[in-house]
Point group: C2
Chain length 473, copies 2
């Protein structure tokens, strides 16, 4: 940090045992030791600090002399006073503060760096960065006072209208912009729904296997997850009916079941909607990647069959644009608009105006539709190339499920190999993978590894990566 | 929306009573009627739609003929097919969807448009928009793959380090970057704290009067607010001790009490911290605008006295930069870092990379410190000018509290005038104001109006606005 000459320093503690010069000395020393002030950073001049703190000039000078004598700072005349360039901190950095341990949650679902096969990412090399940067620069230059104040908590009106139009034409969902609430991601969507419609202790059907963060979030909100098995037709609705007929909600991925990629069959769709209508339960449709279907047409959203207003449709821009923009949305039944407005008012501050404005422009000008179309073709190619490449190297040890859509492949491990052990080894070697058993409620079941293919650019790349996996099997 | 030629249309419902051509016709007609498709918008060609839906070409053509015959669409040859330019929708827009009624929450605390005296806004005319736009354009052009993926859920590392350095030097808070969690605003901060440290039914001391959204959010999360009166020394801690000694937390604005602007005295600070340490309660310090103090030095943060690790410090960029960027943060005790990491992982998707990167650059390059310094001077001037202007016109009817800091004035109404009635009248006349009684737990008490002065550019403006208020008193 460059500490501007005139930055305000907070007053010292007159009740402290230490004299003022020592308090000042300690404060700078600890900022330097912890790396908050770095070699070469400017610090306020003694004159400025004297005025700021309302202390005698001599007090400040005493502190600065001490710091200079110990080599922490250097006065450079006109250029001001700086932390000594090249200084190696001699103190442990904030030794009173324990190093945080990030192992509390499995890192698997929240990538911080980008590894081959990393789940949940679109093709980063194929994103139209130039168009994006042009629109972004234009939006930020066009900022008016109305764009500087609190954005509408439900989302920018223009963005809500574009989403409604997109859903109407592409997903067969008939909704008005007022039914759309912009959120900062799927978790935020789920939290908003839980705040609005569920309460502590409510039981919720979850697909088994299913996306682990859904379970984690609902359990932290003190709801009870009821695992419901998935077969070739999607969630086995009859099992849910038997296990917990009075559940308040079901979270489901009807388009491509996450992670098995099967589609919920029409009879099950109707059975699920029938249950929801009869028992006033809510169906939360997580439609995270249904645009990406390669062997036939995308299925219409479950929401398009929702005649009784029981379905909440959760969409996201993370997969079709970028996760980094943190924009998603939920379509709520018309009867629940007021409730969601109320809850959004209380909880949400709204998403930043800028990112919403960029996405709105991206859609309005037709880039969005073109991008989806291009990605659908690209992903079909990469999916085939990745499957072929891995198959050719790993064919003896794995079976790759044929899947009609989505962004990842499922490598079924032959024999009695542990998917969790393989995934742990892959991580050690800088390869990403998720174990199917980690997606199961009881962490058991079929052994398989989930691999995202959208960033694998050729069959040759897949073969090379396959050879790295082969050594670990 | 421009529907790109090749955008995907979701399949139709084969089980529906209506023939396919009629379903297609209905879908477009309703999209046009509701305004989702606008005059001049392009729709997919019959050829593309035929392919998309896998239907006979004749079916699509039948639908398009009907739409054309009724004047909804026009074929323009090479230029494609468009919604008829100049078309006036003849159907009621989505008549099945009830118009949402926004009256469920008082609009007072969530401005959608900008009115004179609007609370919670910094001086919009004085924001360095050019610098901001330059940094923004640079950040968005510099976007790399690592910036496109999920941002770290705790906030960008660079931003956390800048915040820690700023707090160290400016607020006397000694913390490491790992103790800082970036959020999307004060409400998000409060929600995160509640998820991490509180549970249903917990009692929480709140200042009375106090910021209404705090109470609203905690009550929606099923906690019990315990109002604690405020006098000239801030929250009367002894009253809290009597009313609810076993409360789990206290939310407090020690710098400038919101809205009375008094500072929490040192004995009360110590009493509060003592209570928290003895009863393992949490003190949530909402330090929303303490940079803006005009008559003496800013007080150090309560957090700087926190020797037992009981204080959570909530800061925000809404007041010192812009509300529209949706960035705030919380400093958590070192012992709670793991817990907050866990809860952030489950709930937060992180704030957008772009807005965080812009703010980081803004701080790193020294604009932040300069901006705060400039605003402190500007607000001191505007505060005096606004007080003088209003005093000269309204002096018979109101008394303006002398306040050492903050961004708003308090107009105490003489006699028995209702602040709520005056505020309602002001709103009707396009003037913003909040009634002090609306900030009271029981909606009663002293009659006063809160007016933000940061956007009042001169005494003459204040006098003009004062004359408009005079007519309403």
């Amino acid at each position: 940090m460059t500490v501007a000459k005139n930055s305000r320093i907070s007053p010292l503690d007159p009740a402290a045992a230490e004299p003022f010069y020592r308090q000042i000395y300690d404060r700078f020393r600890s900022a330097i030791a912890s790396g908050l002030l770095k070699p070469g950073d400017r610090i306020p001049s003694a004159r400025v600090l004297t005025k700021e703190l309302g202390l005698a000039r001599g007090t400040i000078e005493a502190a600065y002399s001490l710091l200079a004598a110990e080599g922490y700072i250097q006065a450079l005349g006109q250029a001001g006073t700086v932390v000594t360039p090249g200084l190696k901190p001699r103190l442990p950095a904030s030794s009173t503060v324990p190093r945080s341990n990030s192992s509390v949650a499995p890192p698997s679902f929240r990538p911080d760096s980008i590894l081959p096969f990393q789940m949940g990412l679109p093709a980063l090399d194929a994103f139209p960065r130039k168009v994006w940067a042009r629109l972004g620069a234009r939006c930020i230059r066009a900022m008016q006072p109305a764009d500087m104040v609190h954005p509408p908590v439900y989302g920018l009106q223009g963005l809500r209208a574009e989403i409604a139009a997109y859903l109407q034409v592409s997903r067969g969902i008939n909704c008005s912009p007022s039914q759309i609430f912009v959120t900062s991601g799927y978790r935020h969507t789920l939290e908003l729904i839980a705040h609005a419609l569920l309460k502590t202790g409510d039981r919720v059907w979850l697909e088994n296997p299913g996306y682990p963060p859904t379970r984690e979030l609902l359990e932290l909100m003190h709801m009870t997850a009821v695992p419901v098995s998935v077969d070739g037709e999607g969630m086995i609705v009859s099992e849910g009916l038997k296990a917990a007929p009075r559940a308040r909600a079901a979270v489901i991925t009807p388009g491509h079941q996450s992670p098995l990629c099967v589609s919920l069959s029409l009879p099950r769709r109707l059975a699920l909607l029938d249950w929801a209508a009869r028992s006033n339960a809510w169906v939360i449709e997580d439609d995270y990647d249904s645009e990406y279907r390669y062997v036939s047409r995308p299925l219409p959203a479950l929401k398009s069959l929702d005649r009784d207003g029981r379905v909440l449709y959760a969409g996201t821009f993370s997969k079709v644009l970028l996760p980094g923009i943190r924009l998603a949305y939920v379509v709520v039944p018309a009867t629940q608009v007021e409730r969601f407005e109320q809850v959004s008012q209380a909880f949400a501050g709204g998403s930043p105006q800028l990112t919403q404005a960029i996405v709105t422009a991206f859609i309005t000008e037709g880039h969005f539709a073109r991008h989806i179309q291009r990605m659908r073709k690209l992903y079909a190619t990469r999916r085939e190339a990745t499957a072929a490449g891995l198959e050719s190297v790993l064919g003896k040890h794995v079976r790759i499920d044929p899947q009609p859509g989505g962004m990842h492949l499922i490598l079924r491990l032959k024999g009695r190999r542990s998917d969790r052990r393989l995934v742990a080894r892959m991580r050690d070697e800088g390869l990403y993978g998720e174990a199917l058993t980690d997606w199961m409620a009881d962490k058991s079941g079929a052994s398989a590894v989930l691999l995202n293919f959208t960033n694998i650019d050729s069959q040759a790349t897949a073969e090379n990566l396959g050879r790295r996996i082969l050594k670990l099997i």
